[in-house]
């Protein structure tokens, strides 16, 4: 029986919280606290990005193809991976560990698809000449304002830092889920649910990264001649 299940057997004493005031095990509570702290990391990065964007001439270079098409398909992959993960956790709660493993493997597949698509997208930008502290020469020309204000070269720094840290989380999550899938029969339901919490968090972060980084920087008027 999981800690979560055992929690229900403790009598509510003192402040009506009993031994498990949250009715979750210590590992699940630990994952929730990790998620809160990691959310603040991403919030701080996005806030830094917003600060730089508001105080500089910011380039808007993303063409419909490949950037927006790729990032939209990546979003679809992550959303679908969350759905397969929740199916896996649901199957695990019913004691069907074999089915849970299949859903977790499907989740890993979508996660890896996300990484591959993202690396292709990165490669496209790098081959155009984007670097953490340099813009491609033609971007610098096109996005210079009429008063001569050049676009900031920090575009690449924020882009690679935020999407790179997120991609690192996806890669770590895929490895984590691979271990969970391999040991699914030995693990308790709560352990599988905890791995699901992490994966959904990775999905959640992308729900902010996608609109703020990609949608807000669309090259609407084809300034770069894509």
């Amino acid at each position: 029986m999981s800690t979560e299940a055992r929690a229900g057997h403790f009598p509510a004493i003192d402040w009506n919280g009993g031994a498990f005031p949250y009715r979750v095990g210590h590992r699940k509570l630990g994952m929730w606290l990790f998620i809160v702290s990691d959310s603040l990391t991403f919030s701080a990065l996005l806030m830094g990005y917003a600060y730089l964007r508001a105080s500089n001439n910011w380039p808007t270079p993303f063409p419909f193809y490949p950037s927006i098409v790729f990032s939209s398909v990546m979003t679809f992959c992550l959303l679908s991976s969350s759905l397969t993960m929740v199916f896996g956790v649901s199957a695990s709660s019913k004691g069907d560990k074999a089915k849970a493993r299949k859903w977790i493997l499907a989740t890993i597949f979508f996660g890896l698809a996300f990484i591959v698509l993202h690396l292709i997208e990165w490669n496209h930008l790098i081959s155009e000449g984007l670097r953490p502290f340099y813009l491609p020469e033609h971007w610098a020309k096109v996005f210079t304002l009429a008063d001569g204000t050049p676009p900031t070269s920090l575009f690449g720094a924020t882009f690679f830092a935020i999407t790179g840290l997120h991609m690192f989380h996806v890669a770590t999550g895929a490895i984590y889920l691979l271990v969970v899938a391999a040991r699914v029969k030995k693990l308790k339901h709560e352990d599988i649910e905890i791995s699901g919490l992490y994966w959904h968090f990775v999905d959640l972060v992308w729900m902010f990264v996608f609109p703020l980084i990609y949608i807000m920087s669309v090259d609407m008027h084809g300034a770069l001649g894509h």
């Binding site: 299940a5 009715r23 603040l40 600060y51 939209s72 929740v86 959640l204 949608i215 807000m216 669309v218």
Partner: protein, 118 residues
């Protein structure tokens, strides 16, 4: 007692699928908005609003927080919201530095010319 009965994971696959459909629809709305000419503050407000709705759906249903004890929700959510709001304290400074930059500059900065050979 059946242990699995205690490990009941609330919510049906049908419910999770409908949440996924909503998430996909909201994403499509975001992509549609990307090609609409709107003032940046209105665009930002709509996009962030949609993102918060999507995040809430993921946390409530996929991460199962809706079905957890209220004590856990009250521990995790308000402090996160307060901390994120506190980050905004830095934001007005970005407009100040925007005002300062390039104010006395007549042309774009160029790389210094290479030193001439003597």
């Amino acid at each position: 007692m059946n242990a699995h009965a205690d490990e009941h994971f609330a919510g049906s696959n049908k419910l999770f699928t409908s949440v996924w459909v909503w998430l996909v629809v909201l994403t499509l709305v975001e992509i549609f908005l990307a090609y609409k000419t709107l003032p940046i503050h209105i665009m930002l407000t709509i996009l962030l609003g949609l993102s918060v709705i999507k995040a809430a759906l993921i946390v409530a249903y996929f991460m199962h927080l809706k079905f957890e004890r209220l004590s856990l929700i009250l521990t995790v959510v308000p402090m996160l919201v307060v901390c994120i709001c506190l980050l905004f304290v830095f934001f007005p400074d970005s407009f100040r530095s925007s005002e300062l930059r390039y104010k006395f500059q007549e042309s774009a900065p160029v790389a210094p010319a290479p030193a001439e050979e003597p």
